[in-house]
Amino acid sequence: MSSPDEAEAPEPGIARRPVEVATAAILIGLAGLVLWDSYGRGAGWDGGPQNGFFPARVGWLFLAAALFILFQSFRSENQVFVTWRQLAQVVRVLGPLVLFVALIAPLGLYVAAAIFIVVFMGVIATARWWSILLTAVLVPLACFWIFELQFRVPLPKGPLEAALGY
């Protein structure tokens, strides 16, 4: 489960401590939100637990754990969380992925998938242009055949599919 730590690499990058602190802070914020919502609906015992009872108890535990993690993070030794080079690689995958999801609503899943393949493979730039195009056409077509035609699972469709009568 644990990721390989490359502590010996002196490469520059984002330090681990600020990420630990930020994560703990977000968890504390979530715990606060849960507690606020649960007590708002009643977190007591009314002939059995009310519907906020468990979330509230778990919320307190969560808060305690998150506070402890925050405290810990100030004492732990500071390592590199992710080097700039690694982060750049991650962004090269995450960027096209976000674009893909954003395009699903306006263009439909199949067209967005085709664009995603072109951008993803283009950014990585290890494949020949014709193999990129072939993948970009064949993969959505295969998905369409499997999901839409064979299993009759309707996936989001856009103007292109509408124009083709689906």
Partner: protein
């Protein structure tokens, strides 16, 4: 070339003239606001089977389950699909009760009613070994029980819960209502004597009745059911007395019907009314009704709308009396 395509399609889409009868142009989706395997799901899949077997529609039918949040997920989906003539939703009384209990911005008047397919009865069930001979015995025992007698049902602030509340009011007693995620689960809990009674629909408890684990006391309807074929112990659905006749003055039935999204044309609505009329006349449908002991009660058009209006009023009254309305 592509422009030609688009133009042709646009012309085709616009060319569905109001005079011509409307026909679906792609697969028809039936949204079931309950999980797979439940009573609504079975109804939808039975209809799907009948439509495909008899070739009643030119396009395939797809059943989609959207069970989250007590069915609100499916209802919201239909709300959002206004104007889409290829979507239908199966409904129960939940169409009134879910918005009332959760304050979600949903209203059946934003949908297009198609047809009511049947009504479902509710029956008071007890464990086969229980000493009660009729509803009166059970109510008398409930009066003296501490902690209060346990009654199982499906979901909270829904049909079963309303009936139990009405029983409390009618008999001046207090029950512990225990919500389950499905009627089948409630039935099993009754068979294992973890609850004293359930208010399940006939189909939800018939297996255990036939297996000799549970038995019906009375039906929460104004009239007895009509199915005379023996089910268990030589008794039929028609042999179950009404609860009113046993001194428990509670009646409740639940509609099972079909709706479309709002803003569809009259022709589109008419197409589905015709389709479900044919379904309701198929022999397989009659078998299904008998098997699930549903009350055959097909209505469309104004008769359906009038029924919905009256039923909504009744539910609003019951829900606010029981304190189930969301604040």
């Amino acid at each position: 070339m592509k422009q030609h395509w688009l133009a042709a399609c646009a012309a085709l889409a616009a060319g569905v003239s109001p005079a011509a009868a409307w026909e679906p142009t792609k697969a028809i989706e039936i949204v079931v606001p309950f999980s797979a395997g439940g009573a609504s799901d079975q109804m939808a899949r039975t209809m799907q089977g009948i439509i495909q077997k008899h070739n009643l529609a030119s396009q395939p039918i797809i059943v989609v389950n959207k069970p989250a949040a007590g069915g609100a997920e499916g209802m919201l989906d239909i709300q959002k699909s206004a104007g889409d003539p290829h979507k239908l939703i199966t409904t129960s009384s939940g169409i009134f009760m879910t918005p009332m209990a959760t304050k979600l911005p949903l209203n059946w008047k934003d949908y297009t009613p198609v047809a009511m397919m049947a009504q479902d009865s509710f029956v008071l069930w007890v464990n086969a070994k229980a000493p009660y001979k009729n509803a009166g015995d059970l109510m008398a025992k409930a009066k003296t029980s501490t902690p209060p007698m346990k009654v199982g049902g499906t979901s909270s602030k829904r049909e079963d819960n309303l009936i139990v509340f009405a029983m409390e009011k009618a008999g001046g007693v207090k029950f512990s209502y225990i919500p389950h995620t499905s009627g089948g689960q409630a039935s099993t809990q009754l068979a294992g004597e973890h609850v004293e009674a359930t208010t399940n629909n006939p189909a939800e408890d018939v297996a255990n009745w036939r297996g000799g684990a549970t038995r019906p006391l009375c039906v929460f309807s104004e009239k007895q059911m009509t199915y005379k074929e023996p089910v268990a112990d030589g008794k039929s659905w028609a042999d179950i007395p009404t609860c009113q006749s046993q001194g428990l003055d509670v009646t409740y039935q639940m509609l099972r019907g079909m709706f479309m999204p709002g803003k569809v044309t009259k022709e589109q609505q008419a197409y589905y009314v015709g389709l479900f009329k044919k379904v309701s006349e198929a022999p397989e449908w009659k078998d299904y009704l008998a098997r699930s002991a549903l009350v055959a009660d097909y209505r469309d058009g104004d008769a359906f709308v009038a029924f919905l209006k009256a039923d909504e009023e009744k539910h609003a009254k019951l829900m606010s009396e029981a304190g189930f309305m969301a604040k």
